[in-house]
Symmetry: C2
Subunit: 565 residues, 2 copies
């Protein structure tokens, strides 16, 4: 039997102004689905894997082909339903309704485990959608760069008076998301040593200019870092190795005052291996990568067992760094939870990045807003960059970010831009872009979306909603209301996922994308969606009692009946 | 401190044609919310409890008042968001969008337990929405009568050649839903002995004509049953007692051939105590009702422990009946799961009612369709009854049901009708009712909705999706897509719940209601919603491989791309 998930085809989205769907509202999801699988975008496109362990864009290649056929055929009063990457139905709705509705990997809580998921997956009944993989708004590693940059910069502000010159960050994992770390560190002014076990991943980051150098052993990597930090240069190195070995070894050297360790210790420690998925995401200590891949199929249980034990050692080292006073943070892969389950009592000693650095932004509806030029022309993005500066003349941080992004970030697939903005700004950007499309200033429509890791779209108690002020971390009414409201506001596609980022059982979240086709209808929809979507984030944080959110809601005159009584 | 959930106000929905909201689309949810709390409808309205353990209509009385105020103020291009019974936001949408979006009791899976829910509930952060309680389409015990009737009738067909004369059904629980059992049994031609520990509940059923008689001890109840079965009369008795005591005692008498047991054994055994909620739903053996209620507040852990042990004894007796050849069924309260967790290995020996009797209906999108006359006038319902007969002249089963319902079922609160119909019929009924409103044949608009226990709206592996053909029991993408599609199709309000029926962790489900205000816009929305909603049920069952569903999908020309390839 052939593997329905394997294929050697290379997928490229159409570019330019000719469309094969019946309108831009359906051409948009078509191009974005294909863009998710673009060879420069996806981590493993021949297996339909976009990023984040086994985060896929479609359940099988047959399903991919049928989704494409459906989208080409879809009328502007019809809606396609996609269930865990499979196109299951086309229904008559109306023109202001989403054209695609997606639900991925959702499981009834009592059965919401990797074990049950994998069983279903094996039977062809499931697909892991991660966050933007199965909801067709992944834009390559750049999608996470700014979030990582904001996090490192904020850590710099909190711990090093805002100056990361001569500092270095220790991390691991150079996958689709983790690959942003070296570049984000460098943008924030720090050096970065990133441990990555799979050399092809490291090479991918170097090829796409996310990472500067590669080392085959710890001493070589440390001496590069020593050199750069001494000179005050911000540069990055990928160390080929296993984090579960390297992290404890560095703790040992730090504790013994070994001279090989620049500054005597790393200045910030984090990790972005795919620990959320113990079968596919974390190389066990002592295993080769090929042995690991083979056993994922032949003996997943033994992989899981070994991976979990290794993660415990890895987190124990992180706790040691934290105890020695090194700013240490969980970067949203749920590795503390695994270590805790494996018996490491103080696994949650160090905080997650959201409560530590990001929540004040979420309180204002600020998060990883992004847009993508369906024309395929980088000029369209540069024009929107300029428009952003024009719209927000006083936002120096944003200008600075856009300049750095343009200079440092290579586009992958369709040109796109990420830019953390919030309530009150998002709809202005959207309306301005739509006007540019209408006036022909852009070659073709753009789509606007965001990560599921956003202010109002996620419940994830070990990550985005860790340690909420009122204890409501696990309440997932919020992302569900967010999805329903985006659906009711006229988003072009809307998705509901389970298990993104932190794995099965640990999160529920929603995505939305809206197409700026230049029409007046789009103006109306953009005005609603790009206001309502961040507003739900402000609402959720105001309800939890955050003053910043309550002030933001008042300032923007949100109508939050039982919250702002 | 006063209890924000307690109040002595009596709530009655407005009736007649004067409205206090800005249109019927908002007057409708207003009346239905109030109807849920009508003294003849709700089980414990002063505590906001509608039915099903602690299934509530609003989180607190303050929230109730604010929801009312919001609905009165809401424009026809605005949408109110309700988060676990609390009105959290009003947002601008458009006229074809739902006016209210509701999410109740949803928890991230790893935290989706009663323990965590109760902790949140205590802090004022949660509300249990059950199914139709928190989504404002509960219509009293009548809402379940037909489902129970269809189940008993089908059991009669499968086990007793379609004739239940002289047979008797043993059950327990005469709450909001369980109270339908005696009447449904009698309608199906059988006698019924229902054990109920709370005498006020039994009295409620007798007062509302759901049950015929009451007995204070087992012998008295059995002698009534003996008398009726001998005469071939179908009648019912409520026995005041604890099921955990009565069921094992009846097993003992059956096994010893005790002459007090009519027919030597019950002919069908089931149960509808609120076993899904071990703190509030099941009286422990040997406890008084008042002691139980007091300890629910003061010592919930000890209540839970004792209740769970009693449920084990209760289920063990049901397994004994099953083993002795008595048709025995779980009636959707998750009691087998609890018994299993308590160590009763063969707790799942007897089946749930859905796979045993109901699934073939679900395959055609047939389920508990219902409508309610906002005028408050029973005549409006009688006219719709007549319209149904006119629309479906050849459906003898439906005619028979409508006749019985009219004769036997007393309205509670706003007059309403339940009628199990499916894909192809629901939208016809809706369009016909809307036309009657338009022409002034009905005094005021009607709302049309359904239970969350329906063909396409629920994932509940111990109940509605137990033992699915393909093993997809726990996949909850389906109810999420159902809610999103109803939202996109123009339902008047849409809800997403967790834990209804079977309790925290065990189900996810969605509700929808559409208002027939007589407008042409409503025609369009009804045409989409009442087609798409049952169609998602056919789709879900077709995807799981049921031939009936596949045939139904083909017959109705559904466009199910990857299912009907
Ligand atoms: N913080 C955020 O904003 C954020 C956003 C998205 C995803 N994430 C999480 O970050 C993690 C990484 O995401 P991704 O998309 O990069 O995943 P990915 O699967 O594409 O990459 C993971 C990388 O880790 C490497 N790796 C695995 N085990 C290793 C080990 N023991 N030592 C060294 N390297 C190892 C793999 O070879 C791979 O390259 C995931 O858990 C994801 O959910 C965080
Ligand atoms: N099968 C279905 O279609 C369906 C539909 C809805 C609800 N349900 C489930 O049925 C159950 C009952 O629902 P409800 O709305 O009637 O709940 P309810 O809480 O209103 O009523 C439960 C009744 O059981 C009684 N009871 C509790 N413990 C008892 C004991 N040990 N012995 C005798 N009586 C006892 C209570 O006094 C109460 O009257 C729930 O678990 C609900 O989820 C099933």
């Amino acid at each position: 039997m052939t593997n329905p998930r394997h294929n050697v085809r290379d997928i490229f989205p159409a570019t330019g102004t000719e469309i094969t769907a019946k309108s831009w509202l359906t051409e948009a999801p078509l191009r974005m689905l294909m863009n998710n699988l673009h060879p420069d975008v996806a981590e493993n496109p021949h297996e339909l894997v976009v990023y984040g362990g086994i985060g896929r864009a479609a359940r099988t290649w047959d399903d991919f082909d049928q989704i494409v056929a459906c989208l080409r055929d879809l009328e502007d009063t019809e809606t396609l339903l996609v269930q865990s990457g499979k196109p299951v139905g086309v229904f008559r709705t109306h023109k202001d309704a989403p054209r695609v509705l997606i639900a991925n990997s959702n499981l009834v809580p009592h059965w919401a485990t990797w074990e049950h998921f994998n069983e279903l997956d094996k039977k062809g009944l499931a697909m892991y959608g991660q966050m933007t993989a199965g909801s067709w708004i992944y834009i390559g590693t750049q999608g996470i760069v700014q979030g990582t940059y904001e996090t490192f910069a904020e850590a710099g502000r909190q711990h090093y008076d805002g100056d990361l010159t001569g500092k270095w960050i220790l991390t691991a994992g150079l996958g689709g998301m983790g690959g942003a770390q070296p570049l984000a560190a460098v943008m924030a002014g720090a050096c970065c040593l990133a441990v990555e076990c799979d050399e092809t991943r490291a090479d991918f980051r170097i090829r796409t200019r996310y990472c500067d150098a590669k080392a085959q052993d710890l001493d070589a990597a440390l001496s590069m870092i020593a050199d750069w930090t001494a000179k005050g240069e911000a540069k990055s190195v990928a160390l080929i190795g296993n984090a579960a070995e390297i992290f404890p070894e560095l703790v040992r050297r730090m504790k013994t005052g070994d001279a090989s360790v620049p500054n005597g210790r790393p200045d910030i420690v984090t990790d972005q291996t795919s620990a959320h998925d113990p079968v596919h995401g974390y190389l066990p200590l002592g295993w080769s990568v090929s042995e690991w891949r083979a056993k994922q199929e032949s003996d997943p249980k033994s992989v899981e067992k070994a991976a979990r034990a290794s993660m415990k050692a890895h987190v124990a080292a992180m706790v040691d760094f934290w105890s020695a006073g090194v700013p240490t943070l969980d970067y949203g892969n749920n590795i503390r939870q695994v270590a805790k389950e494996e018996g490491l009592e103080n696994a949650f000693a160090f905080p997650g990045f959201v409560p530590a650095y990001i929540r004040p932004l979420f309180c204002k509806g600020i998060g990883p807003f992004r847009w993508c030029a369906l024309s395929g022309d980088p000029e369209d993005i540069y024009k929107t960059d300029a428009k952003m500066k024009e719209l927000f003349p006083d936002n120096g941080h944003l200008h600075n970010w856009l300049d750095m992004a343009r200079e440092r970030i290579a586009f992958q697939g369709l040109p796109a831009r990420i830019c953390w903005i919030g309530l009150g700004d998002r709809h202005r950007a959207g309306l301005a872009f739509n006007e540019m499309v209408r006036k022909g200033e852009l070659k073709a429509p753009v789509v606007i979306g965001r990560d599921h890791l956003d202010s109002g779209s996620v419940a994830s108690p070990n990550r985005e909603t860790e340690a909420m002020k009122d204890g409501s971390d696990a309440v997932s009414d919020w992302p569900l209301l967010n999805a329903l409201l985006n659906c009711a506001s006229g988003a072009t596609w809307v998705s509901l996922h389970h298990g993104g980022g932190v794995g099965m059982g640990f999160s529920q979240h929603s995505g939305m994308v809206i197409c700026c086709d230049g029409s007046e209808d789009a103006d109306r929809r953009i005005g609603n969606v790009l206001w309502n979507d961040p507003a739900t984030g402000v609402m959720r944080h105001a309800d939890a009692g955050y003053d910043i959110a309550i002030d933001c809601a008042r300032e923007h005159k949100l109508n939050l009946p039982a919250i702002l009584k």
